[in-house]
């Protein structure tokens, strides 16, 4: 079920009323039922996968609490990963093996990549399952003994299909307090505000730019270098507005129910270096990899070469998490290279000029750093968006041809470019306000007519969105 849909509005309303008026025990059950409806709405066939992973997590948590051995831990991790490996990676790895060996491996028809439709959000709830098992193994959390409560933790609909990847230690205690919060007005107001923000980012910004970007990538050869440049910038904005918008809708929905989810973003496009970017982008995924992969591998405590290896391995996994495709691997490799270079630069800088390394840079340098970081990230998004590495290369060549006078092979110009630039300007204003001010406090401090006018203006802006709902980008992961 899409967050930006009438049926979700109905489901969320029922959930809010449930938490408000039913006793806690029933609230938990009804919310679980609503979560199953949410997940199974478009394709009920995927529900068993969610239940399967829930069962593994529940039984696994109890089992590893009793038999705390690495063997049991790895068995449970592999079992949790089994669905993900089958649905997401089997076809890809078969293709990679085939490409490497130069032999077309014969596969039974049911193993065909095309035959497997990826269950929505599988990467998110698989990682959540693994984190729970590891946390129990590490004794960071106690195993949850109530199957209903555990399943609600797994399937809680606001965070089910695209995160944030919640940890048991953060979410389960809140679910146990469901309906007992006495800050209902505050929750409703904050939830409403976050949802409004999310709708603006998703419908007004992301979905509009998606029209341009999809059209460009649908026929790269026919487009001009200027279109390539605009599509590259627009996708950079689109993916952020889409994912941040989704996250705000998730946070807002949960907040209406009195639940506080972890935020996934901290103004990533204001990052002044690539390391900062990854600390601000998809925070629950990066902290997941940090806690469960990077630090266990030794983090940055070893020699520089070892740290670079750890970074490269983690970024390869991050890339593969996003999708089983060479494009994601190139994207991940690009980020790994930037992170490794930045790490080495930091080491060198602290050795050569330790005092300077501790001092913060001036405004001008910081501004330049911000722009460079943004453009590096934006450039690498080309690989993330392009359907193939060849297509990404085509886009890059097109960008290059635009920079070399006389080499342009401009063919057509995209229509309504002015409108998309207007949307971009709206986004920039939003991003700056979001970074520089507490928008919620500012809005609430305004008079009632002004607040109402601002809210009405945002709602009316949705008339400028495309008619057909555009799926959230991160739903595919």
């Amino acid at each position: 079920m899409n967050f930006v849909s009438a049926e979700y509005f109905v489901l969320l309303s029922i959930a809010v009323l449930t938490v408000r008026f039913l006793p806690h025990r029933w609230s938990v059950r009804v919310l679980l039922l609503l979560s199953f409806i949410f997940y199974g709405w478009d394709n009920p066939a995927y529900l068993p996968i969610l239940l399967f992973l829930g069962l593994i997590g529940y039984v696994g948590g109890l089992a590893i609490d009793r038999h705390r051995t690495p063997g049991v831990l790895w068995a449970l991790i592999l079992l949790s990963l089994s669905s993900l490996l089958y649905f997401k990676y089997l076809g890809f790895f078969t293709r990679v093996l085939s490409d490497l060996s130069g032999i077309a491996l014969s596969r039974p028809p049911e193993f065909s990549v095309h035959a497997l439709v990826l269950p929505i959000g599988i990467s998110f709830f698989t990682f959540q399952a693994i984190s729970y098992i590891v946390d129990v193994y590490w004794r960071d959390v106690a195993p949850e003994r109530s199957p209903t409560m555990f399943m609600l933790f797994k399937a809680f609909f606001p965070q089910l299909v695209a995160g944030p990847i919640e940890r048991a230690g953060h979410l389960i205690p809140q679910l146990k307090q469901l309906g007992t919060d006495d800050r209902r007005e505050q929750d409703l107001a904050l939830g409403g505000f976050l949802i409004l923000k999310g709708i603006f980012l998703k419908i007004v910004i992301a979905d509009n730019l998606a029209v341009f970007v999809n059209s460009f990538y649908g026929d790269i050869a026919a487009r001009s270098p200027l279109d390539a440049l605009l599509a590259t910038y627009f996708f950079s904005i689109q993916i952020y507005a889409d994912f941040y918008g989704y996250t705000l809708l998730a946070l807002g929905s949960a907040r209406l129910l009195g639940i506080d989810l972890i935020s996934n973003f901290a103004h990533p496009y204001f990052a002044e270096n690539i390391q900062q970017f990854w600390r601000r982008w998809h925070i629950t995924l990066t902290t997941w990899f940090r806690d469960y992969v990077y630090i266990p591998l030794g983090g940055n405590r070893g020699a520089p070469a070892r740290t670079v290896f750890n970074i490269a391995l983690v970024m390869l996994l991050v890339a593969l998490w996003h999708g089983a495709n060479y494009t994601f691997i190139v994207w991940g490799a690009g980020h790994a290279a930037l992170l490794a270079l930045y790490h080495l630069y930091q080491i060198g800088r602290s050795r050569i000029a330790p005092d300077q390394a501790r001092r913060s840079a001036g405004l001008f340098v910081r501004g330049i750093s911000l722009l460079v970081t943004f453009h590096l990230v934006t450039f690498l998004w080309i690989f993330f968006r392009a359907p193939s590495v060849e297509a990404a290369g085509q886009v890059i060549l097109k960008l290059w041809s635009g920079m070399v006078p006389g080499s342009s092979d401009a063919v057509t110009a995209m229509p309504y470019t002015g409108f998309y630039l207007f949307i971009t300007a709206l986004f920039i204003v939003f991003a700056v306000l979001d970074r520089a001010t507490n928008m919620e406090a500012r809005l609430k401090a305004a008079s009632l007519p002004l607040q109402a006018a601002a809210i009405a203006a945002i709602l009316l802006l949705t008339y400028a969105a495309p008619f057909d709902a555009i799926q959230f980008i991160y739903f595919q992961f």
């Binding site: 509005f9 505050q186 409403g192 609430k444 607040q451 009405a456 008339y463 400028a464 008619f467």
Partner: protein, 496 residues
């Protein structure tokens, strides 16, 4: 946990502001949708505009028409007006782009009171070809253009929801029940982008009978038609709405033709027979006639040149003729002009004598105020004549024209082009419309603009294109006649 009263009050104020903001959205929705505010603002060049233009004039035509045809563009651009008029039969083509049985039902319900009042009921033609059952032919636009109140949407909620679910439009439909004006999201970005939208799908190219001609000819031979291996079941909601349509027809006691579009790739005569038998059994008192491929022999010259399967004017004539033959329709030629005139509001535009441009040598003013053009004295692509500016269509968006045209009363053929239109197909820029020759009711007028209809009479039209140019801010237009060919016009519709 307690929190301070100031926090509480600011939260309450925000929630109140949220409620007011939502109410503002509902108010805008009401104005845009129920009051047709979007059309008022931006003109009728949308699919909704096309549907509403037809719905608005339908009661007038339903009161007089001998035959009313319901369906998609296969009907709208596939059953021509002229063969009926030649026989003295008054037709009304109620076909709408992408209109399926769902739209047909609501369209029939819309004119039902008029039909109930008539002693002699018209023949109702319902297109039931397979594409109407395909999943991509959703009736979303048609639902919201036709069913204009939430109460009506809710009354038919189960059937409409089923249709939406079958066509993967559930979310849009449910959202539309809350806020029907969300439909305008399809156009909002074009409006804000400062451009135009062309979702009108041939808006403006219909003749007075509701037929929108296509003039190109298929360049290659027709592919062989394959006998379909098995029945292609209609979606349940399509069957529901065919049955609802037939129920009204049965209650009106109006004869019905179930029409299956003849230019199909796959054909199952058995399927047609089964379908007709099914409906005959369901409505035993209804006179159901079946018309399909077996009744209409098509050739390459009857099919449009472009990508679609539509019939051109030749093919449309054949379908109309087949209908007349199959039903044994006989009209009243003597009274046709009187009946026709009753349907039309008249507004005169500048007399041709006032037109300028081109060489004066090519023009001969007639005693009746009309003008005869001698095209022998003109060159290819010459502008022959240009009218003074005149009011075309109040409320029309700049640069776009929805003329709802009917052209050429006496000379057989005329081309109409709307200037400065981004043409994506072979039809939008050109319309080929014919009206009864020598109709005494309109013979004395050369060019007229009537509420929703423009009529043109030109003595020799074989090599003329009529262009609408210099459209002002929705109120003024100018007509230009331009010679198109240096050679005599071919007999059949023009190849592009």
């Amino acid at each position: 946990m307690q929190y301070s009263s100031s926090i509480s009050s600011s939260n309450r104020r925000f929630l109140a502001a949220l409620a007011v903001g939502l109410l503002a959205l509902v108010a805008v929705d009401h104005w845009l949708y129920a009051r047709r505010g979007f059309l008022d603002l931006f003109g009728p060049a949308t699919q909704e505009g096309q549907i509403l233009a037809k719905l608005d004039k339908a009661p007038r035509f339903a009161a007089a028409a001998d035959i009313i045809m319901f369906g998609s563009s296969f009907t709208r651009s596939g059953i021509s007006t002229q063969p009926f008029l030649d026989k003295g039969i008054l037709p009304f083509n109620f076909g709408i782009s992408a209109g399926g049985p769902l739209f047909a039902y609501y369209a029939l319900a819309h004119i039902r009171p008029v039909l109930e009042a008539r002693e002699k009921k018209p023949v109702l033609v319902l297109e039931i070809n397979e594409p109407a059952g395909e999943t991509n032919l959703n009736q979303f636009e048609h639902i919201f253009a036709t069913v204009r109140t939430r109460s009506a949407l809710i009354r038919d909620f189960p059937d409409l929801l089923q249709h939406a679910r079958e066509h993967d439009k559930t979310s849009q439909f449910l959202a539309g029940v809350f806020l029907p004006s969300l439909r305008y999201r399809a156009y909002g970005r074009y409006v804000l982008g400062g451009g135009r939208f062309h979702d009108g799908s041939l808006a403006g190219n219909e003749d007075a009978g509701g037929y929108a001609a296509i003039n190109s000819i298929r360049p290659d031979e027709l592919p062989a038609v394959e006998e379909a291996s098995g029945p292609a079941p209609y979606p349940a909601s399509t069957m529901t709405y065919i049955e609802r349509f037939l129920r009204i027809a049965a209650e009106l006691d109006a004869p019905v033709v179930l029409y299956r579009f003849p230019n199909v790739k796959h054909w199952s005569s058995r399927r047609t027979a089964e379908l007709v038998a099914h409906f005959r059994a369901a409505f035993p008192t209804l006179n159901i006639v079946s018309l399909g491929k077996e009744d209409i022999a098509l050739t390459r010259d009857d099919i449009q040149s472009c990508c679609g399967m539509h019939l051109n004017a030749n093919g449309s004539d054949k379908v109309a003729a087949a209908l007349i033959d199959k039903l044994g329709l006989r009209g009243d030629r003597e009274n046709l002009a009187r009946r026709w005139r009753a349907l039309v509001d008249e507004t005169r535009i500048p007399a041709p004598a006032l037109w300028t441009g081109g060489s004066p040598d090519t023009r001969v003013a007639g005693a009746d105020g009309g003008l005869t053009i001698d095209f022998n004295g003109t060159g290819k692509n010459d502008d022959v004549l240009m009218s003074p500016a005149f009011t075309v269509y109040p409320g029309m968006a700049a640069g776009w024209l929805n003329l709802d045209m009917a052209f050429d009363l006496s000379a057989g053929h005329i081309w109409v082009a709307i200037d400065d239109v981004e043409d994506s197909g072979d039809v939008r820029n050109a319309s080929h419309v014919r009206l009864p020759q020598g109709d005494p009711a309109i013979e004395d007028r050369q060019i007229m603009r009537h509420g929703g209809m423009t009529l043109v009479r030109i003595a020799r039209t074989e090599q003329v294109r009529l262009r609408i140019t210099q459209i002002g801010d929705g109120v003024e237009g100018r007509l230009t006649l331009r010679r198109l060919w240096s050679e005599p016009r071919p007999e059949s519709p023009v190849r592009r």
